[in-house]
């Protein structure tokens, strides 16, 4: 006997398309469709930390998951990292040429008077990875004054889509989702910490389907779905 | 039927002092512009607090700075016709007239007053569409219909034509005599003052 309502899943906004596809697949197995609430990881983590009655939390980085774990809001033994991503440099579709992102690459010179779109580099995960990568390449100091920080990675994508900036740093999944941009360069995976998406069940969870859906997210079937959207899976 | 007033109040740089004691009927308050007539009426009505003094109307102490008595405006049962009409702009003439009415008031009295004031045809109108004299007549009606224990009239008949004026004065005199209402009236018309005033007081 299925619960009348699916579990409430708090998921990072950048997982919107892929998590919806996963929820649909789960529902096709005869389960009530999970209710998905998409927002920034920070907002969601704070809500979970406040003891809000949700079932699963899917974060865009480990930091916010740690935050909940420290506060004892996670159901023990349910935390798992299930997705990975890549960091890319994008340009507007229709432009040409690619940039080899090696140590010392003259990105600042290529930008000229233009700017580089990124998610906020001190706060939003995509921005933090980007900053780390640019530091690793040894060009952060010269690029930093030219950075335009958006409030999330999709807003950074929009800046490039609109032609407000010629280049941007986003996830490979974002670049794949948009037809108006193309990948102009891929950051070496070694240039930043691995990009990982953890999931966990919350202690406040009451929905009997919650654990089932969590396991489904870790399943092969779900992995295939996430790969379709450009994520890497383990 | 009496006023016993002794008040002092400072407004701006002016000291207003008024002291009189009037037995019965209609008392006329007379004086040059800016002497403090309106201020005196406001103090009797309870709208302006005297710095010091005592107000007694018909044996009821309305204000006494010595014993700390200060009856609330709405409890003084005053029928006040202000110098300006002060009609409620968001209410029709009819609603203005009925605003102060008691539930048990009788209808024939109402009809008679409306008739003498000649405002029966204005009932559904909004105050801003009234002429100066029409607004004033509605204001008089509103005060008279509130079942007052005494009347304060601040130049009630200015901006009315002579015949209408006569009729309204007759009405007011009748209220004085039949209902025994003490009346305090400000006017600048010495003829009117002499005819009506049981007593005339100069400020």
């Amino acid at each position: 006997q299925a619960h009348a309502r699916g579990p409430l899943v708090l998921a990072a906004a950048s997982l919107q398309e892929s998590m919806n596809a996963a929820a649909d697949a789960w529902a096709r197995h005869g389960h009530p469709r999970p209710v998905l609430s998409f927002a920034g990881s920070s907002s969601l983590a704070r809500q979970a930390a406040a003891g809000a009655p949700a079932d699963l939390f899917v974060s865009a980085d480990e930091g916010w998951m740690d935050y909940l774990q420290k506060r004892g809001r996670l159901a023990p033994g349910t935390r798992a990292t299930f997705l990975g991503n890549q960091l890319v440099l994008i340009a507007r579709a229709g432009t040409h040429g690619s940039i080899a992102l090696r140590k010392g690459v003259d990105l600042a010179g290529i930008l000229g008077r233009n700017r580089l779109a990124m998610a906020s580099y001190n706060s939003v995960p995509a921005g933090k990875y980007g900053k780390a990568a640019l530091i690793n390449l040894g060009i952060w100091d010269r690029v930093r004054p030219k950075v335009a920080q958006a409030d999330n990675v999709r807003a950074a994508l929009a800046l490039v889509e609109r032609g407000a900036t010629p280049f941007g740093i986003v996830y490979a999944t974002d670049a794949a989702a948009s037809e108006q941009v193309r990948v102009a360069g891929i950051f070496p995976p070694s240039s930043h910490a691995p990009i990982r998406y953890p999931v966990a069940r919350l202690k406040a969870s009451t929905n009997p389907d919650a654990e089932g859906f969590r396991r489904f997210l870790l399943s092969k079937e779900a992995a295939a779905i996430f790969r379709r959207f450009g994520f890497t899976t383990r | 039927m009496s006023f016993d007033v002794d008040v002092e109040r400072r407004i701006g740089n002016a000291d207003i002092a008024c002291r009189f004691s009037a037995e019965g009927g209609l008392t006329v308050l007379f004086g040059p512009s800016g002497a403090g007539k309106t201020s005196t009426l406001n103090m009797i009505a309870g709208l302006l607090r005297p710095d010091r003094g005592r107000i007694v109307v018909d044996g009821h102490i309305l204000f006494d700075s010595a014993s700390g008595i200060d009856v609330a405006v709405e409890k003084r049962r005053v029928g006040y016709v202000f110098q300006d009409p002060r009609l409620f702009p968001h209410k029709t003439v009819a609603a203005n007239l009925l605003y102060g009415r008691r539930d048990n008031a009788d209808t024939s009295e109402f009809d008679r007053i409306i008739d003498i004031l000649g405002i029966g045809h204005l009932m559904e109108r909004w105050p801003r569409t009234l002429s100066g004299g029409e607004a004033r007549r509605v204001a008089i009606g509103r005060a008279l219909l509130s079942d007052p224990a005494f009347l304060l009239l601040d130049e009630p008949l200015s901006s009315l034509d002579r015949p209408r004026r006569e009729e309204i004065m007759v009405l007011i005199e009748r209220m004085r005599d039949e209902l025994g209402l003490p009346i305090l009236m400000v006017t600048h018309d010495s003829e009117e003052a002499n005819r009506l005033g049981t007593r005339t007081i100069s400020v």
């Binding site: 406040a50 | 003084r76 702009p89 801003r128």
Partner: protein, 229 residues
């Protein structure tokens, strides 16, 4: 033109903004009256607190609401004890966020109208035997109708547009707290969904235009008599 799901979002948004404004109007009017007429120490402080949701970034307001209404927060604690439930992730929470964000706008507009009520009319009413309560109900309140309507329209529009505090406070739960702005935000996160964004934005605009027209009609009705309108 809209899908059934989108109509659901519209209905939910109207419910949330409507309830929020309906409940907030009397609170806002009381505060406006206090600020317009009251003379007390710390008035500027009350004024400042009322303006808070306007100055703070909405996400901060949302966060503060979250702290207050969390099950172990000061307000949430009481709510849980009384009703056994919570407003988190519920439409009631979204309505609270909308109301709080709309409050400063409503108070300002109402205060402006209260301040322009001619006190001499209130005096006249009192000489006619009306006590302070009746004067308030029959004179001050109706003469403040232009400000109340303006405040209600501003508040309703603000409530319909409320995003940051809502998503921070009660998340983005479809069918519960996903109002039009949150639905638009969700669409904005999906590259290439500009069409849906524009469509939903147009619905927002149509709703607030509707509210405007209704308020203008009410204003005309209420203002038949007096020069203000």
């Amino acid at each position: 033109m809209l899908s059934a799901e989108q109509w659901g979002v519209v209905a939910l948004s109207l419910k949330i903004a409507g309830v929020a404004i309906g409940v907030t109007i009397p609170i806002a009017f009381a505060l406006a009256y206090l600020l317009a007429r009251g003379r007390f120490p710390g008035k500027v402080l009350v004024d400042g607190i009322v303006h808070l949701p306007l100055v703070l970034p909405p996400v901060v307001t949302g966060w503060l609401l979250l702290l207050a209404f969390a099950p172990d927060g000061p307000v949430g604690h009481v709510i849980e004890a009384v009703t056994g439930g919570t407003v988190l992730f519920r439409w009631t929470g979204a309505a609270i966020a909308a109301g709080v964000m709309a409050l400063p706008l409503m108070v300002r507009a109402m205060r402006l109208s209260i301040e322009s009520v001619d006190r001499r009319l209130e005096q006249a009413a009192r000489t006619l035997g009306a006590g302070p309560g009746r004067v308030f109900r029959t004179i001050t309140l109706p003469l403040s109708v232009p400000g109340i309507l303006a405040g209600a329209v501003l508040g309703f529009a603000r409530g319909l547009g409320e995003f940051g505090a809502t998503i921070t406070f009660v998340s983005n739960v479809p069918g519960e707290t996903q109002t039009l702005p949150l639905a638009i935000y969700s669409k904005l996160q999906v590259p290439g969904s500009e069409h849906a964004v524009v469509q939903l934005a147009l619905v927002s605009v149509a709703l607030s235009l509707g509210a405007l027209v209704v308020s203008e009609l009410l204003a005309r009705r209420a203002g038949r008599g007096f020069h203000v309108l």
